[in-house]
């Protein structure tokens, strides 16, 4: 899971990062959650913030994001949860650019999936392994 700079380091700090972990672990199961290193307030920015996505400096944005990409790949996880819009766009794009083979999902998607109420048209970011679950 990405700790969004805006939410964690720049606003509510480690307590909100702990809250998010509580939610994520409840949703995916504790044994399925793998943290990145470093994380929480120490986490690296994904490279989507500060206007980067609109700035036109695409090559730099990818180079910047390589640090995040490697962090995600090092977890070995197949899904990265991005609970922020910019993070979601950037991490999704990093996967396309560097051919990462992971899926980038919003937290709301997984919450509803685990509650058994995720509709058919609300699954754009799920991989084939989860796309049909609970339909």
């Amino acid at each position: 899971m990405q700790d969004p700079c805006q939410l964690v380091r720049k606003s509510f700090g480690d307590p909100v990062a702990e809250d998010m972990r509580f939610v994520v672990k409840s949703v995916v199961g504790e044994e399925n959650f793998i943290d990145m290193t470093p994380n929480m307030s120490n986490n690296y920015c994904c490279g989507g913030g500060g206007g980067y996505l609109q700035s036109g400096y695409t090559e730099a944005r990818h180079q910047y994001g390589k640090m995040k990409f490697d962090q995600i790949k090092n977890t070995g996880a197949t899904y990265c949860i991005a609970p922020c819009h910019n993070c979601h766009s950037q991490i999704h794009d990093l996967n396309d650019h560097f051919d990462g083979g992971y899926h980038t999902v919003h937290l709301w998607t997984l919450i509803c999936l685990s509650l058994g109420c995720l509709g058919e048209n609300e699954r754009a970011y799920l991989g084939p392994d989860l796309a049909e679950v609970g339909l």
Partner: protein, 241 residues
């Protein structure tokens, strides 16, 4: 690299003085060049720059280099440097001040256009979605869920509900390009029993004028949004961005 030593006495260091004036808490003089900032900054190495170097160049009065490098647009203002810095040197705000020295028309067009677009109507949408379009999309999507998804006949996505506890912002990307992505959020709010609403005014979560460092228009947008929350009498302003 210059083969001659820099003659610092020739440098005017106007930007350094400006930072001292506008950012007295910036701790520019406290940097002891440890490099902690640069070690943990993903923008290190881009344009042959890094945060420590940026700070040193300001301190040395290398104004021309500091104020022309596009690196200031490749820093994401993520604040990891100041978080990690033992002396709390405020590099992100120095980057912001450097952005402000660029003439508006020279700043990245995509950021400026998004800022300008948000000023066109009271929705504050950087993608230009207007009040009617937003309300139509929300009501249309909610209606479809009520009709087609079993167990969700009661799902509400209120717009302009006076006195609701939460005023919810929404990034423009959803209503404009992938409206179905709003549904899971509504369902969670419904299951939590939250008393919430969107507003036709001020619903858009983004504010690119901040990144453009057009602070006058940034404030204008924040005020339009805050007024929208107040006008509906909502207690909490929730921003999902």
């Amino acid at each position: 690299m210059a083969d001659e030593a820099l003659n610092l006495s020739e440098k005017k260091a106007e930007f350094r003085e400006k930072i001292k004036e506008l950012l007295p808490e910036g701790n520019l003089n406290l940097c002891f060049t440890c490099g902690t900032c640069a070690a943990g900054c993903p923008a290190t190495g881009l344009e042959n720059m890094d945060p420590r170097k940026f700070v040193r160049m300001i301190a040395l009065g290398l104004d021309e280099e500091v104020l022309t490098t596009p690196w200031i647009w490749m820093c994401s203002l993520c604040m990891r440097c100041i978080y990690a810095c033992p002396m709390k040197v405020d590099i992100p705000n120095m980057v912001g001040l450097a952005r402000r020295t660029w003439p508006r028309e020279k700043r990245p067009k995509g950021i400026i256009d998004s800022c300008d677009m948000a000023l066109r109507n009271d929705t504050c949408s950087a993608m230009g979605a207007n009040e009617e379009d937003f309300q139509f999309v929300v009501e249309d999507v909610a209606e479809e869920v009520r009709e087609e998804q079993k167990g969700w006949e009661d799902l509400q996505a209120p717009v302009n509900k006076k006195g609701a506890e939460f005023f919810l912002n929404q990034n423009s990307r959803e209503p404009v390009t992938e409206p179905d992505e709003m549904i899971p959020l509504w369902k969670i709010l419904h299951l939590a029993g939250a008393d919430w609403t969107y507003g036709t005014k001020g619903w858009a979560a983004e504010n690119y004028c901040l990144f453009a460092q057009d602070l006058e228009n940034w404030e204008k947008i924040v005020r339009v949004k805050a007024k929208a929350v107040d006008d509906l009498g909502c207690k909490v302003w929730l921003n999902t961005e």
